[in-house]
């Protein structure tokens, strides 16, 4: 059969966002691919040069519309490194809980979107149902359901409301049962297994060389989690362990490995939150006033010229990095330069080449298993 190029995107069910995957097919087999990115480039890095350090947070929320809290946190750690702020421990705990809530919501969004990719429509609604619980929790913290603008340089915007801890524990415990329910539905279905196993192999060393990070390399057996290797915040004080898959094939990790590692990561997030809510300094049912020194430290607003801030943060899709150079505008109020390292910007072109040799029907299975998010990719 003659070969032909098929353009999937910019608006296509497979893309999970706004980008184009051009696929060259020979019958049903993929022989070449080409990823085109950049449809929603917003110039966040340039905009940041005209904003002061607090004003940048909402822009970082909008980097990824599925996991806003982790990206805002990621920026905040760089800003705190730049401004040399000591963050109160209670604020760190709250940030940890918020980030893990966000990680659960993001992974649920991934699983929910992955179901229809494979053809399981029920998974979508189940995941949306459970994601709702964690969005409600995040709403209690940040007042919003999508872009929270919650962390501040030196702490968090406001304390946990009274009763938040009980609701968190109840929901997390319910959700731990729900994970079992998902696995009952998926792992015991032969169709789910034959669609995922043996499809989309990616080798660990190739992924590391390309710069892929996060759950995608942990699925291939690389035990690298930023939270574990270079603990920021209070990740070294709570009870958890990174989810790492044992490599099962010399060809690397397949879609099933990547699915398993995210399910395990959700369990670990639950475990982490349950532990953190008990260990939180200042008591879990107390509510400090806004700006109290328990939750928000005093922070300077200007950074001297030449000062730099850097953060290395485990976002839901991989390791994000922020690099800020202070002293912009001559007065130090704005960053001179803000640079963002997005894990997905590196992953998507890599995934596009991973698909070669598989069938057309495997394209959504492979692409979805890497959890693409175009907001952070195009920045």
């Amino acid at each position: 059969m003659a070969q032909m190029w098929i353009t999937m995107g910019p608006q296509h069910p497979m893309t999970h966002g706004l980008w184009t995957l051009r696929v060259k097919v020979d019958g049903e087999t993929v022989v070449d691919t080409d990823a085109e990115l950049g449809y929603i480039h917003r110039g966040v890095e340039k905009i940041a040069e005209a904003r002061d350090f607090t004003q940048i947070t909402p822009y970082c929320d909008r980097l990824c519309y599925v996991s806003a809290m982790t990206w805002a946190n990621s920026y905040i750690y760089a800003a705190e490194d730049l401004l040399e702020v000591e963050v109160p421990e209670r604020a760190e705990y709250i940030r940890l809980i918020a980030a893990e809530c966000q990680r659960l919501a993001s992974h649920l969004m991934w699983l929910g979107a992955y179901g229809p990719d494979i053809g399981s429509l029920t998974l979508m609604t189940w995941c949306m149902r459970d994601r709702e619980m964690f969005l409600d929790l995040l709403q209690e913290l940040g007042g919003s359901r999508m872009h929270y603008n919650y962390p501040r340089v030196g702490g968090v915007k406001r304390d946990m409301p009274v009763g938040f801890a009980d609701r968190l524990v109840a929901k997390v415990k319910l959700f731990e049962h729900r994970i079992d329910e998902y696995e009952m539905m998926l792992d015991e279905s032969t169709i789910w297994l034959v669609r995922l196993q043996g499809v989309g192999y990616a080798k660990a060393e190739e992924m590391v060389n390309a710069g892929v990070s996060g759950p995608n390399i942990r699925a291939a057996g690389v035990n690298y989690d930023v939270r574990w290797a270079h603990p920021y915040s209070v990740y070294d004080q709570v009870d958890w362990e990174p989810a790492v898959e044992k490599p099962t094939s010399v060809k690397g990790a397949d879609c099933y490995d990547r699915y398993r590692v995210r399910m395990e990561e959700m369990r670990q997030s639950c475990r982490m939150m349950l532990d953190a809510i008990e260990k939180i300094p200042g008591g879990k049912n107390t509510n400090y006033a806004n700006g109290d020194e328990m939750i928000l430290a005093k922070a300077p607003t200007r950074a001297p010229e030449g000062a730099t801030g850097f953060s290395h943060y485990e976002c839901t899709r991989g390791a994000s990095q922020f690099y800020i150079q202070g002293g912009g505008d001559g007065r130090g109020k704005n960053p001179y330069r803000l640079s963002i390292r997005s894990p997905m910007f590196i992953t998507i072109p890599f995934v596009a080449k991973t698909m070669i040799g598989y069938k057309v029907a495997d394209i959504p299975a492979i692409m979805g298993s890497f959890d693409p998010c175009i907001g952070e990719t195009d920045r």
């Binding site: 979508m124 590692v261 029907a361």
Partner: protein, 507 residues
């Protein structure tokens, strides 16, 4: 057994109201000589239309069943959970209260029942308050059957949409293929009896005819995919052609074994056979029933075999370019095919219009009472069975399974289903030749079922043993599935050290 509702006899008999009326009117006119055949034509037309309307409008029920069942299965609290929303309002306030609008206080009892349900089972939990408010639940109770006419509304919406043909499409074929698909689909309904006396036509070879008509639509699908001049539709059309070829043959072989077992190619006769012989085909050929369902799901292209319209990679497959009522008709055709598949399963395996264990029941009731069974309308039994088949098999499978890949579908079809179907044909031959006892058959009008499958003096020995055997095979297969490999992969997420023995960052 024939039931009492003989619609065809009522319309077509010469003494019947319709035909005698027409003959009476034509008396003394130049048409008098041909009055008999003219009245026959009119009566046939009437029968066909009545049966078609019955089948067509009862089809809305399966759309409704799917909506409601899916809303439950998916645990969805959206606008389609209307069964529940009949009595669940905002924070437990009874929704809508449309019954108060009925004249003469007719709705008062309903209101009382609703109030009771609402009080005891209603939603007083604040966690749904936002959901209810957002979905405007208080409007939901205002239809007679919640959500039933949603499908009609959808159809109306399709009617008013623009019909567009892609600029570089093959216009003639593009326009013709939906009609090819829809008309051939509607012709299937012509072969489907609702009961012994309610059917449109009854040719001797109706099984063959129904399956032949089923095989026409794939040609239309392929035409549609090719003529749209779109790469998605092209791949979808070719997938559809490949898949249907792979699944037609096991389907035909399964139906062949039904025909061998029943000794007839006529649908109505095969239903009579099941009653007269004393057991439904389901219990004589469970393997055939499973094969029939699997091939039929592939034939009507529903999940898990909906590769031709896999929306994840092919947008909407071969019907991507269709819009407006053309899309609506294709959609309707898909559901009619599904509905026809449910009917065929009911007729071939579940004894058609007969009540469950009707023959045994009649024997138990005795001669004086078994006539009462005849008053139960067989058409209703047929409909209920078909709806149940749709709910339990088609809807349940669709919303709990994922989609198989094309090559896996083809491999499954050619390498698993085809040998099994051949095995089923051989089994049917053995059953018919060696296990079947023609002396035990009861008459078509005998309410008591036959005893053709008795052996060793035990009633229904053959079906019982067959069913038990295949159930055992099924359970052995379930347990024998290569689970160990999967389980090893399922639980092999590991960390190097047990929890708590090492702290992060210290390695």
């Amino acid at each position: 057994m024939k039931d009492n509702y003989d619609l065809v006899g009522f319309f077509l008999s010469k003494d019947g109201l319709l035909r005698s009326g027409i003959i009476g009117v034509l008396e003394g006119t130049p048409l008098e000589e041909s009055a008999s055949s003219l009245s026959f034509a009119v009566a046939t037309f009437a029968v066909v239309n009545v049966v078609f309307l019955l089948l067509f409008f009862s089809q809305f029920a399966i759309l409704w069943i799917e909506r409601k069942a899916v809303a439950r299965m998916q645990d969805r609290y959206g606008a389609t959970t209307a069964l529940r929303s009949l009595w669940v309002g905002e924070n437990g306030v009874t929704a809508g209260e449309w019954w108060n609008m009925l004249p003469f206080g007719l709705g008062k009892p309903l209101g009382a029942v609703n109030k009771y349900l609402n009080k005891n089972f209603g939603n007083r939990d604040e966690k749904f308050a936002t959901v209810d408010r957002v979905n405007n639940r208080s409007w939901m109770g205002k239809t007679i059957v919640p959500g039933f006419f949603q499908n009609v509304a959808d159809g109306m919406k399709f009617l008013v949409k623009e019909h567009m043909v892609p600029q570089r499409a093959d216009r003639l074929i593009f326009e013709v293929s939906p009609f090819l698909i829809v008309s051939s689909t509607l012709l299937i309904l012509g072969m489907i009896p609702l009961s012994s006396g309610i059917y449109a036509t009854n040719p001797d070879l109706s099984i063959l005819y129904a399956i032949a008509i089923f095989g026409i639509a794939p040609i239309g699908v392929f035409f549609a995919g090719w003529s749209s001049n779109n790469k998605y539709t092209l791949i979808g059309g070719i997938r559809s052609a490949a898949q249907l070829t792979a699944y037609e043959i096991p389907l035909l072989l399964t139906l062949l074994s039904v025909a061998i077992l029943s000794g007839t190619f006529n649908i109505i006769d095969s239903i009579h056979f099941q009653h007269s012989a004393g057991a439904w085909n389901l219990f004589l050929m469970p393997l055939g029933a499973v094969l029939f369902l699997v091939t039929m799901i592939a034939e009507v292209e529903r999940v898990p075999f909906d590769m031709p319209e896999a929306e994840a990679e092919l947008v909407e497959g071969w019907w991507t370019e269709y819009g407006g009522m053309r899309f609506g008709m294709l959609f309707m055709a898909e559901y009619i095919r599904t509905y026809a598949a449910c009917f065929l399963f009911t007729h071939f395996f579940l004894g058609g219009w007969h009540l469950p264990f009707q023959g045994t029941l009649a024997a138990l009731l005795g001669d004086s009472l078994n006539g009462t069974i005849e008053f139960f309308p067989g058409a209703i039994m047929t409909l209920v069975k078909s709806w149940l088949v749709f709910l339990v098999v088609f809807v349940w499978a669709r919303f709990s399974l994922a989609r198989i890949r094309t090559d896996q579908i083809l491999e499954f079809g050619w390498r698993m289903l085809l040998p099994l179907a051949v095995l089923q044909v051989v089994l049917a031959l053995v059953y018919r030749l060696y296990l079947f006892n023609p002396d035990g058959m009861s008459g078509q009008n005998d309410p008591v079922g036959g005893a053709a499958w008795d052996a060793f003096g035990i009633p229904s020995f053959v079906p019982i043993v067959t069913t038990v055997f295949w159930l055992a095979v099924f359970f052995v297969y379930l347990n024998d599935e290569d689970k160990s490999v999967n389980q090893e992969r399922m639980f092999h997420v590991h960390t190097d050290k047990p929890a708590g023995t090492v702290s992060p960052g210290k390695e």
